[in-house]
Amino acid sequence: MPALVYLLVLMVIPLGLVIAYAFLTSGRFGGVQGPATLDNITRLFQPLYLEVLASSVVNAGLATFIAFLIGFPAALAITRLSLSWQTVALIAVVMPFWTNFLIRTYAWILLLNREGILSDGLALIGLGPIEVLYTREAVILGLTYAYIPLMVLPIYASLQRLDSMLLEAACNLGAGPWRRFRTILLPLTMPGIITGCLFVFIPSLGNFVIPELLGGGNSQMIGNLIRDQFLKSRDWPFGSALSLLVLALLVIIVMLQASAARRSRKWGA
């Protein structure tokens, strides 16, 4: 019963409000008023907004991909440690979460700006100075950094469950390292990989702090757009419509993930 109340207050009512707002007209000083309209929904399909959505998907997708490229080997390396060192390594992975998200993002500004360590370092070996801050690359870097622990943890969990005998069996049957990775390790840890990718992709897609701080004005993402509708343009209905667009996209992705998970459960334990 408490779970139901929880769901109602934190999920059903807010979602209902967002859906309702998306079909109303904006009030003069924020808020909403009648009459009901489909204008907000049709406005979503203007090229300007679709472009922002597309570039947000690309940014979040790239961040997810890079997080996987780094996170998978990291998770694999952790499983090879002794049990007590595994605990140490896992604590190290989640340690950044002990510091405020904003402060960590500000730290990247210091690292990336023209007088920062990265630029100075590259200058020493004759490759700088360069401007990384306030570029799209900085946004992707920031997103990757912020959510990579959420990639490492589920992959680590699924690697832990994997029977190491299977890798030895593949080796014994003549499979080299790359084939073992491709035919055994990757498919059998796919549920963890997909979960990790969702955990990185979903918060990256709606993020507006990192594009603002590390991207400057140059790299708007859909999150910034939504925030601006509510706080600057005072157009709550259109902000709600944009939110629904993001939500719809995520629902589709989560459904794909669920069907992939069903397939892997068929293999049995």
Binding site: A169, C171, L173, L188, S264, K266
Partner: protein
Amino acid sequence: MTAGTPLLNIHGVSRSFGDIRALDDVSLEIHENEFFALLGPSGCGKTTLLRVIAGFEQPDEGMITLDGVDLLPIPPERRAVNLMFQSYALFPHMTVERNVAYGLVCERLPRDEIRVRVDEVLRTVGLTDKRSSLPRELSGGQRQRVALARAIVKRPRLLLLDEPLSALDRKIRGEMQVELKRLQHEVGITFVVVTHDQDEAMSLADRVAVMDEGIVRQLDAPLDLYRRPRSIFVADFIGSSTILKGTYADGAWQAVGVGAIAVGADCAGAIAIALRPEAVRLTATEDAAAVRLGTVQEVYFQGDHALALVKVDEVAFLANVRDDVLPSRGSDVGVAWDATSVIPLFEE
């Protein structure tokens, strides 16, 4: 290769894990087409030896050659040695067919040849109708056949089997035992079985190496191992026996707690003697053949015979009873045996 030339030559192989000496100067020769068994209690080093041959462990010392070629520098994925895992280690996301084909795909064989060989081996193990099943959908016995098929389809020089029957229940175990023997003849591959089950080793293998604490205690054909164990360990581990420690003096065995016993074999240098239960009979107390008198402590019914435990002073004798009437517990009996059935044991 002529008969008698060793296919696999293990020479002076040692391997330690910390303070534990898993393999201690092990030397073995395994011949072409032989069914060889490594028998021993858990922790005796037999699995380590298997992993060394397969290439998952490197020995600290020693040498292993296969067909005369040094095996140790070859990485595990390129050794002509296949291993059937105790847990089978079937790939859960692949069908029976893809599991079996895996090793051939690794060899980059043409697709047609792979299909022919997979079909053939599935027929051999009787799983043609299960080719599209996932491992999860198979019974224990069927999984084992897939594991076997996956290993033999590679046509290895040597097939290693780690406790091949331990995961099966008793009834299927008997069937698979016959099956393994048939397959070994049919495919003509040298089999090395690792097991802790003496029945399995004795009934399957041409030769058995009994291991204990990383050392090969005795290497013989099953019959010789049973009839002529050299050590207390082997006499005790293989079959059951009454072991009498003592010394050899004045042409008789001076057994601790039992006194002098006449022996048929030369027991000079022995540290103990063994009597197999089938060599010991129970007699009436007044029978002239009775060597000692004792009291029946327990009688274990075994089907075609019963095993009686008879206490003679402080020593328990094991005797097989084939009479229709079994002795009752607590009754006084005589124990008798022929002096020629005494087996001298020379090592601990």
